[in-house]
């Protein structure tokens, strides 16, 4: 059986009477990229800290790479980019990596090649001898990623890895995460940037007020794809459109639900060939942002689940 990267059941954390995490059920398979979403204060960072043993659980169960939470042997195979972090400003990028290689017990002979690999990956190869104190926030975040990827870990936990990056940097991070995944690394991505998560993650877990309120693959969460067309001048016989999917009228729109999104241009061409005048086309699949706002606001309206 393949080892799960992360497995938690009803994981809970309370600081005195304040509940930071009510109940977290989280599964991340080997080599899987899972997005952990939630509004500020939902308990995401607490969840990450619990997984790494930085804080102690108040209840529930959890295992990382098949070992109990905080286990040192498991931590040897985890890379971590904290949300709020600063590396030693008086060290160079190379020295920061050397420090973490030393703490992680990365064998000496492997270190130089690993430094070249991760610095090349994050685009800092030509700044390796510069002091971190002179780095921009974005460059520090890149260095943080390099540190997290050091030693080819089995699991990488990234807490807001793109918050300080420009669009080019974000695109780079997407490539880095895909590269890590192609090497078989599992990634837990904690991010506010829903577009990032939508593009990268195999599965998504949405946390609100310390509990999981939605979880699944993007397909499962966002539902089936559809297309809605605002059109006039169509004949009564709509049979040429029948092969694309079931037809319906929705608030003055012609809807085909479900539809193969790849065939939407073909649908529009058929409508036009039938004499219809197309005013608007709306790929009607719910976005992750819409789903996120729905579950979070729904939770707020409905009180604590």
């Amino acid at each position: 059986m393949t080892e799960m990267a992360i497995e938690t059941r009803s994981l809970r954390k309370a600081y005195g009477s304040t509940i930071a995490l009510e109940s977290l059920d989280l599964l991340v398979g080997a080599g899987e990229v899972v997005g952990l979403l939630g509004p500020n204060g939902a308990g995401k960072t607490t969840a990450v800290k619990l997984l790494l043993g930085l804080v102690r659980k108040s209840g529930g169960e959890g295992a990382v790479l098949g070992r109990p939470l905080g286990d040192r042997a498991a931590r040897a195979r985890i890379g971590y980019l904290p949300e709020l972090f600063r590396y030693q400003s008086w060290l160079t990028a190379d020295e920061v990596l050397r420090l973490h290689a030393g703490l992680a017990g990365l064998p000496w002979p492997r270190q130089a090649a690993e430094f070249d690999r991760v610095l090349g990956l994050v685009g800092l190869a030509d700044r390796r001898h510069d002091r971190v104190g002179g780095f921009s926030k974005g460059m520090q975040q890149r260095l943080g990623l390099a540190v997290a990827l050091l030693g080819d870990p089995a699991l990488v936990v990234l807490d807001e890895p793109t918050s300080a990056l420009d669009p080019v940097g974000r695109d780079d991070v997407r490539s880095i995460i895909r590269e890590a995944q192609s090497r078989g690394t599992a990634v837990l991505l904690n991010s506010h940037l829903l577009g990032e998560v939508e593009r990268l993650c195999d599965r998504v877990v949405i946390v609100n007020r310390g509990s999981v309120v939605a979880a699944g693959t993007l397909g499962e969460l966002l539902g089936e794809s559809a297309v809605r067309i605002r059109v006039t001048g169509l004949p009564a016989d709509l049979s040429p459109l029948a092969p694309f999917g079931p037809l319906a009228e929705e608030d003055g729109w012609l809807a085909i639900r479900p539809v193969d999104t790849e065939r939407i241009p073909e649908v529009v061409a058929t409508v036009v060939s039938m004499g219809g005048r197309v005013h608007a086309v709306d790929p009607a699949r719910q976005t992750l942002e819409e789903l996120f706002l729905d579950v979070v606001r729904g939770g707020e309206r409905g009180g604590r689940p």
């Binding site: 800290k49 930085l54 008086w90 973490h100």
Partner: protein, 287 residues
Amino acid sequence: MNPRIVLVVAQLTIREITRRRILWVLAVLSLASVALVGWGVDRMVSLSRENGVNAYELEIAVSQILILIAFMFSFVLAMSAAFLSAPAIASDVETGTVLAMVARPMHRADLVVGRWLGLALIVSVYAAGSGLLAIGVVRFISDYTPPSTALALAFLAFQAVAVMTLALALGTRLPGIAAGAVTVVLFGLGWFTGVLGSLSNAFGVRSMAGLGDAFRLLMPTDGLWRGVIYGLEPSQVVIATQQGGRLAASNPFFADAPPPMAFTVWCAVWIVLVLALGAWLFQRREL
């Protein structure tokens, strides 16, 4: 505990302090102080000789000045040790630097002990170096050589390491400034109760003397300071002060004997216990 990781952290600590300006500022200030002291002693010795003061009296005077210089150094050293080591872990926690480090496969105690090792080396080298320089300058100017330079320097470093250990341990739980301030207050109280204890002993006030002894066990820096004094004062001063009655014996800049071996061993145990307490507090801390 993992010795390899302890050494990695110790190396990091030494690099951190030597790359920051603070150590060099302290070094320059120490050199300036030594130069000033040298000039002052030189003037005092030259002018006193012109006034017919004999060599014996001068030796006594210079030894007392040297003890006061050592006191100033021990104070500066204790403050520096407190404010260098209090933020060693505390500021790493505040900036989040510590998160990525302790998420590595290490015991948190490795971080505490590694920090301690690096700081202890720096503080000891600084204590020995600055102390030796001051004693060397005084010797060059006045020909006075303390009876036991090595003993005095060892106790000076021992005292600074004790202060450093306390500040580091407090910094595992308190913010850096608070840990530094508490350490300085305890150091000051240690000296005060030491003086009070000596007076109480000299005047036979047993209850107060007992209280002073108890506090000396809890905060042993003043006891270690007595070792510095003993190493610096000539035997004539010891004899003269012993003959000078109880008021002379209660002088806070006089010691009629080195700290007992049992007390010195206790100080080493105290350092280990305080360090272990710091490691335990840090292990329990939610980051």
